[in-house]
Subunit: 329 residues, 2 copies
DNA sequence: TTGAAAGCGCTACCAT
DNA sequence: ATGGTAGCGCTTTCAA
């Protein structure tokens, strides 16, 4: 591996000059620059980012912490972050916290020890103390926060919307699935839904799901039909949960959406691939990632931030697990 | 951030002694060690990995390069790698190459510039020259290779198995979906299937899918039913593709599995959540990730490797997009 | 058993 | 416009 010394020697200049040429800082004569570039070419020289980072105490690396890489919502988020970071010359290192505080802390250390220049965290932990005095800016993604900059979708509105749409379409005995307690975003959408349901003229009951994983989704689905067989409308905590409900309903020969309506949450790519395609509340995952990246970059560049908590709107995606609305006039 | 100097000062010893204590190298008196540990505690000292890495030219970081983080197969792979690496004290940095050679190369540079100690690559590019003379070991995952160590599932057997099972269950006019040309693993399973089909007594035709993405899967599904309406059995290139076929078939009112049988490939978590649940050839993604991690660690530790190309078996998962087999005697 | 000092590759200050 | 050099935090000889 060629070093800056090798380049300097080959170009017949000092390392200081090479460094200046490399970073476009200070004066470098045009001819000298050409000499240097030639040497760089010939040696296939790439600056050692570790040495750079050691001196500057900042790398070009951004940490991205995901709670569960297996939930399709998060890769989508990650892509939004990645694409934006790429454009701005930052590189992403992704950590998967696995809904596990110990792993989360571990990754935060790794990020810190490797001099990341900033961190985007999409984990669910309430333990915000991990993020204090890290020495680099943090943006929370898919999570609200007062103290830290954050990007999230409007969960209250989303929950309300889900309830409105399913009621409007005629469900009378609704089961509302409540996501994990510790997940603030899940609680928001739950709260939005329950508010709306309380103000409407329908019966409903509430079931709590332990987590947003495949396994728990399947368990919850089974339980739902055993406990509340008269349900004619389900508002799920996320699309994975909705997919499991849909699956179980079809298995039991329940006709969708005639006997049972289902509304999911997230609009993960899989949702349109289900049959019938899933009606859901769409969170703009990719855009959320993009916004978080832009926000972090702005902070890194010390731009003044007009809005450090960005809330993105959600939309109802009217597919085929809900009936066509009757009134339209 | 406390440095090793601070610790040394506080403990009243030299930095060299602290370093020795830190790394369990050379002699350190028990009393001195206690003093040092106390200082480390009080200062909440964490060694700077960047400085370490600069000197040793090796970090504790492992690069993992994924072709497409949105395809659920890869997060599964990643989890296998991650869990094993975690156990051994290595940290993972994940890059998403997005099926894009430029991004792939870019990540390889990032890994190199950040002194990763090893790399696991699950990308599809045939461009193996990127991986020459990197200065650290590389293990290919979900990809065969002669020159480099690799871990993959038996695609030939998988394709053959898919064909056998669907023929055994009575499909007579089969459409075989062929994955992207540049994807060696896809070609293997295709080859396995077509070999078997040629030796059997059924008609079949072949359709090529552009890529293994959600969008292309949907397009291919539409096309299939337009072009080959008489198809009574589909062997898909992967589960995403199979899900799209299933979706389109149900949309057109085709009864599954009575009129049409479908076999997928991968067994991603979503497959059992579809309705009817998808019959598929299972690749042990998590285990593949684990094996790749173990192999890389062995190479890093200079252990002698008895087997540098590890092939894992695939299995047929008999769910409900295939009929029950008739003969069983 | 311990410490002084060199050096990993780079940047930035200060001379020239 | 260019170069010498200190120093980022750590590990590792080598000497004591």
């Amino acid at each position: 591996m060629a070093t800056i010394r090798d380049v300097a020697k080959k170009a017949g200049v000092s390392v200081a000059t090479v460094s200046r040429a490399l970073n476009d800082k200070g004066y470098v004569h045009e001819d000298t620059r050409k000499l240097i570039n030639k040497a760089i070419q010939e040696l296939n020289y790439k600056p050692n980012e570790v040495a750079r980072s050691l001196y500057k105490k900042k790398s070009r690396l951004i940490g991205l912490l995901l709670p569960d890489i297996r939930n399709p919502f998060f890769p989508e988020l990650a892509r939004g972050v990645e694409d934006t970071m790429q454009e701005h010359g930052f590189r992403l290192i992704i950590g998967n916290a696995d809904e596990n505080p110990a792993k989360e802390l571990d990754y935060i250390h790794t990020f810190k020890q490797n001099n990341v220049i900033g961190l985007i965290s999409a984990t669910n932990q309430t333990e915000t103390s991990y993020y204090e005095s890290l020495g680099f800016p943090v943006v929370f993604l898919d999570r609200t926060s007062r103290q830290h900059p954050s990007v999230y979708a409007d969960g209250l509105a989303g929950g309300k919307m889900a309830a409105q749409e399913i009621v409007k379409r005629g469900s009378k005995r609704i089961t509302l699935l409540k996501g994990p307690m510790e997940l603030k975003t899940a609680q928001d959408r739950f709260k939005g839904a329950i508010d709306e349901l309380c103000h409407s003229n329908v019966n409903f009951n509430v079931m709590t799901t332990a987590s947003f994983t495949f396994d728990d989704a399947e368990k919850t689905a089974q339980e739902l039909f055993d406990k509340f067989p008269e349900t004619d409308g389900v508002i799920a905590g996320n699309d994975l949960g909705a997919a499991a409900i849909l699956h179980e309903a079809l298995r039991r020969g329940i006709s969708i959406p005639d006997e049972l309506q289902i509304i999911g949450y997230d609009d993960i790519p899989l949702s349109s691939l289900l049959f019938p395609p899933l009606s859901t509340i769409r969170q703009p995952a990719y855009d959320m990632g993009k916004e978080a990246a832009k926000l972090l970059i702005a902070i890194i560049n010390n731009e003044l931030i007009e809005q450090k908590n960005i809330q993105l709107p959600v939309t109802f995606i009217d597919r085929q697990t809900t009936r066509k609305v009757e009134d339209n006039g």
